[in-house]
């Protein structure tokens, strides 16, 4: 059963690679043919032009489609994602490697904070439902939950970096700092990361609030909670040991899942704040039509989502003994 689940994930990754390959390769005026034609127009002989395209894209344009496809898959497995067009001579893999830490930092911190805030407020909202707190928080969460992060990002940038200049407008850290494990540098990284992280949190915590509130409410209605109350267990203890664990448990799946989706959503936030993570890289790759970089980043983001899916399932299995893999499929 476990092997089947892992096999499904590998199948998904293969489908992703196949889709990206044919999407980019079969389009009229695809980047490879264009490049080949540019070389030919420059008077470069055909065999040399084909060689150069092969160097750029890692694929021989002269060979039949199925051969190109197989060699693309083979090169991908070997970790060769080709050479970037906008940064000539730099491999796609090393560009991704440089950008990834910034995205992992901002997305990771935001995910953790928005989850913590949502869970804490959601518990309060459930215990004081129909109170003034919940009456404000529920509609607010419903509104914020649907708002994409490019709107919250633009609003935060405008308010906190243009109208009142409390935070920097762009970049990962201040100039003239020595990257490394020193206090001024780390402080600057946090200072520059505040607005991007704030944008994610604003568009995320509402969803956690609503989920946590409804989970807590349904847990509070369970017989074992009434049972615990009838034993005279203090309500603070009931909340900590009975209600919260059962209400949070289903949220862990969503937590791992949203990690993958936030990677995808980082395109907007990082573009707004010129924050050099993978989302920003994806944005610039797209505007410069840097296809090898685009393909590599898309594959990376999708594989992150697929692997988080897998981890979420396995995690859930471990946390909740009542669930079997059979139920998840």
């Amino acid at each position: 059963m476990l092997l089947k689940r892992i096999g499904m994930a590998i199948l998904m990754i293969w489908m992703t690679l196949t889709t990206t390959f044919f999407l980019v390769r079969l389009m009229p005026g695809n980047p490879m043919t264009l490049k080949l034609h540019t070389f030919l127009k420059q008077g470069i002989p055909y065999p040399i032009a084909v060689k150069r395209v092969q160097m750029l894209f890692g694929i021989n344009a002269h060979s039949p489609m199925w051969q190109q496809y197989l060699s693309y898959l083979w090169e991908f497995i070997r970790g060769n994602l080709g050479i970037s067009i906008q940064y000539p001579g730099t491999s796609v893999l090393s560009l991704i490697g440089k950008a990834l830490p910034w995205t992992v930092f901002t997305v990771g911190v935001s995910l953790f904070l928005s989850f913590a805030i949502g869970v804490a407020l959601g518990t309060i909202g459930a215990y004081r439902r129909n109170g003034i707190f919940d009456r404000i928080m529920s509609p607010l969460s419903a509104l914020l939950n649907g708002v994409p992060n490019y709107l919250t990002g633009t609003i935060l940038l405008f308010i906190f970096a243009v109208v009142v200049i409390w935070f920097p407008q762009q970049g990962p850290y201040g100039t003239g700092l020595n990257p490394g494990f020193n206090l001024p540098y780390l402080g600057s990284v946090l200072y520059h990361g505040a607005l991007p992280i704030g944008s994610y949190i604003l568009s995320q915590f509402g969803g956690w609030y609503l989920l946590m509130k409804s989970n807590t409410l349904s847990t509070l209605g369970q017989d074992y909670i009434s049972g615990a109350k009838s034993f005279g267990i203090p309500s603070g203890k009931i909340m900590q040991s009975y209600v919260a664990p059962n209400a949070i448990l289903p949220l862990f799946t969503n937590l791992v899942l949203s990690l993958g989706f936030m990677f995808g959503g980082s395109v907007f936030v990082e573009t707004i704040f010129s924050y050099p993570g993978i989302g920003y890289l994806f944005g610039t790759a797209t505007s410069n039509r840097d296809y090898p970089l685009m393909e590599g980043l898309f594959a990376l983001i999708t594989i992150t989502v697929i692997v988080s899916n897998l981890i979420a399932d396995l995690f859930y299995l471990k946390l909740d003994p009542r669930i079997t893999l059979e139920d998840l499929n």
């Binding site: 389009m27 708002v147 633009t154 243009v162 407008q169 395109v267 983001i301 989502v305």
Partner: protein, 287 residues
């Protein structure tokens, strides 16, 4: 007539429902008639950059002296028509695949559900961006098709599970005994019962599509072809760093406010529709 009266009594009882409906009707009005108010295009005065709101410029002007208000009014048509088309495409794909999958089961079900899983797994914005970068997109219909490529997954799943439970009802058994044919049973007997659900999701799909299209225009990935709210955001960002000057507040805030108002009133209106369609909630409104 009865249905209309019920809808009215629901809207009247909750002011938020009524306000949401009025806002939606207003946006629909803008989308249909908006461009007619400005037959000569967006009024502008190059000497009046970033003007504050006034009688002449109700929402001020932008970096080139164009009226912000006029751009919002004219832009509503593109934004809403693409969103409405995308929502209809999404519904069509999602409902058809969901009904086929749930009704026929077996191999059909397996294949459709595998594809659905795959579509749901692909991160939506990166997918839209990579397609928009490879396929030339121009005009509202290709744009709407693009937006509906990966938006139908959740709906197809929900429809499938509804069909699975409806399929076991007695009246479907009766229809089978009468040999009414699978197509007839699936689309004539089962689908009407799911209409309320479909209509509610149509409204929510509209907001999803509005976010998708403004996001793509905002990033500047699809070619800019018409005045619309996403293009306004993009210009506020890219043109002469308008976003970095506090005087552009009205130019920046207007499309944001329009998008948020549309979202909020759509969500609220779909709640109202839920009250309307759900018999248990409906009884609360009976006089």
């Amino acid at each position: 007539m009865n249905a209309l009266r019920l809808l009215w009594s629901i809207l009247r009882k909750k002011p938020s429902y009524l306000i949401a409906t009025i806002i939606l009707v207003f946006f629909a009005f803008l989308a249909i008639f908006g461009p007619m108010f400005y037959p000569n295009g967006v009024p502008s005065n190059p000497a009046d950059l970033y003007a504050p709101p006034s009688w002449q410029w109700p929402l001020g002007t932008d970096y080139a002296g164009n009226s912000t208000f006029a751009q919002i009014v004219i832009g509503a048509r593109y934004v809403l028509s693409v969103a409405a088309l995308a929502a209809v495409f999404t519904m069509f794909i999602g409902v058809t695949l969901g009904v086929l999958s749930g009704f026929f089961g077996g191999a059909v079900d397996t294949v459709i559900m595998r594809i659905t899983d795959f579509i749901l797994t692909l991160p939506s914005y990166p997918l839209l961006i990579i397609i928009a970068a490879t396929v030339p997109i121009s005009g509202p219909v290709p744009m709407a098709l693009l937006l509906s490529i990966n938006s139908w997954g959740g709906l197809a799943r929900a429809i499938r599970s509804q069909v699975l439970s409806l399929k076991k009802q007695d009246y479907i058994e009766a229809a089978r005994v009468l040999r009414l044919g699978s197509g007839h049973i699936a689309f004539r007997q089962i689908m009407p019962l799911m209409m309320p659900y479909i209509v509610m999701h149509l409204i929510l799909a509209v907001t999803g599509a509005v976010y998708g299209e403004t996001g793509l225009f905002f990033l500047g990935i699809v070619p800019i072809e018409a005045t619309n709210w996403g293009v306004m955001l993009n210009y506020a960002y890219s043109q002469a760093g308008a976003i970095y000057s506090p005087s552009s507040v009205f130019y920046l805030a207007s499309p944001l406010a329009a998008i948020l108002l549309l979202q909020l009133s759509s969500v609220t209106f779909s709640d109202a529709l839920n009250d309307f369609f759900n018999p248990q909630l409906r009884s609360a409104y009976a006089d």
